[in-house]
Symmetry: C2
Subunit: 254 residues, 2 copies
Amino acid sequence: MQDALTRKLESFEELTDADRAALRALVPRLRQVPARTDLIQEGDKPENVHLILDGYACRYKVLPDGQRQIMAFFVPGDFCDLNVFILDQMDHAIGTISPCKTVEIPRHAIEDITAHHPRVTRALMWCALVDEAVLREWLVNIGGRQADQRIAHLFCELLLRLEAVGRVTDNSFPFPFTQTDIADTMGLSDVQVSRSLRELRALGLIHLKRRVLTILDVEQLKAYCGFNPNYLHLRNARWSGRRQVPWLSSVRGE
Amino acid sequence: MQDALTRKLESFEELTDADRAALRALVPRLRQVPARTDLIQEGDKPENVHLILDGYACRYKVLPDGQRQIMAFFVPGDFCDLNVFILDQMDHAIGTISPCKTVEIPRHAIEDITAHHPRVTRALMWCALVDEAVLREWLVNIGGRQADQRIAHLFCELLLRLEAVGRVTDNSFPFPFTQTDIADTMGLSDVQVSRSLRELRALGLIHLKRRVLTILDVEQLKAYCGFNPNYLHLRNARWSGRRQVPWLSSVRGE
DNA sequence: CGGTTTATTGAAAACCTTCAAAGGCGGTGG
DNA sequence: CCACCGCCTTTGAAGGTTTTCAATAAACCG
C-alpha cells in the first residue's frame, strides 16, 4: 500500500531512501466506501488526506437554496484533499460517486513528513498544482463554452486522466455519473445535459450506455470543444516514457 | 521590502530567526508595471514569483476563438503565481489591470528556502490554499448564480479581501476594471454586465463612478447573492486580532 | 416484478447574447 | 480652454440558448 503512494510521488520527484523510509512509516487505512457517501463534510476539520484507489468521487458545495455545485472529479490515483488539509475547516464536502476503495493518511503524518522531507513536499505540491490547473480549466469551460462543448470538454479530460492511470480500453471507460451530476458540474440543468448528450450522440462522437462511455472519435471530439491538454501537464519530463502510472496496477490486486 | 514578505508569512505561521534570515537573504526586484501589461505569458517558463504591492492584476487565458477568461484577480498583498512556479510551463498568463508595483522573487530562491525551511513552506502553502479556495468559489459563482448575483458576489469578495489589507475606506475602493473585464471574469457579455450594474444601482446596493466602487449596503448586498465568507478563511486563529495586515502599510511609503 | 430513480421529450418562459447605434468620459494637442 | 478622438458605457431590439414545468419512457434495484 505505502508502495503505491511512494511510486505515485516518484513519478513526480526523485526520492531518497530516507524519504521512502518516512513514507513507509505511514500507517494508512484502507477503506471501502459505498457510492453516494461523503468522505468529508463541509465544516469538518480535515484529519486525513484521502487517496482514491478505485472508483470516482467529487468535491462539491451546496448553496443555501439547495443548489449543488461540483468542483472536481477524482479518479483512481487522485488525492482528494491534499490541497486543503492545512485549512482549519472544510469549506466544501467530498463525496463518492461510485463505490470507492480509498486510503486515509493522517494529517499529522503528512505534516511530519513535509517538515523533514522537502522532496516529498515538492512531489505533493506538484499533485496539488495539477489539480488546481484542472480547476482553472473548468472555470474556462463553464465561463466560455456552451452546453454541448462543455460536456465534450469534460469527456476529453476524463479520457486523458483515466488513460494516464490505465483505466481506458478502446476509448471506453466507466461512467457512473448521472446526468444530474454532470448538470451540477457544468452549471446546467439536467434537461439540457440530456439534450446535449443527444446532440453528441447524433454527431457520432460518443456512445454512452449502461454507465460506460465510449469516445467514438477522439480527434473530432477534441476539435468540437477546442480541447487543449496542456493544462493537465501530462507530458512533463518526469512523466515521459511511462505509458501508464505503475503504482496503480500494482494496487489493484490488493 | 523583505520585511513585507516576512510579515505576510508570519500572519500565517510563526517563523524562527533562521527562517527570517533566509527570507532576508532574498534579493527581490521591485518593479513598476504599467496597466494592461503581462507579467508572464502563456508558454513561458516561470522564473519568478510575483508579489503585488500596489494595483490590481489578473490571471487569464485566451481561447483559440479570441475569447478571454479571467480566472483570478490579484490585489495588494497577493502572490500571483506561487501556485504555478513549480510547473515547467505556464498554461495561462498573468497581466496587470491597473498600473502595479510588484516584487519579483526568483524561483530558485523560493525553492531553496522551501527545501530548508518547513515553516516558510507551510506559510506559502497557506497562501496558495486560500487562492485555490477563492478559485473554487468562483466556479460556484459562475456555475450557480445569474448575472446580477454573480457580480454582487464578486463585489463582496473584493470588499473583504481589500479590507483585509487596509485598502477600503467607507466601503469604497478603487475599481479599475472595465465592464469587459468583469464580463470576461464572469462568463457574461459586456452588455449584460452593464445591465446588471444598472440593476444593482437601482436597488441602492452600490455606487460605481470614476473607477471607484462604493458598497452602499453591505449586508443587503451579501444577502442579495447569498455571500458566505468562510471560503476566504480570514477568521482563522492565526489571523484573529489583527484588523489589518501590517506589512502592507509599511511598504506603501517605499 | 414492482417501486424508485434516471432519462427523454415538448412547450413556454426566462435569461443572456449579439448587433447596432448613441452617449459619456478622459486624455491629448492645438 | 476647447475640440477632438478613442475607449468605455448605455440602451434598444431581435435572436439564441438555457431553464422550468410537466408528462412519459426507460433503466435500475432489491
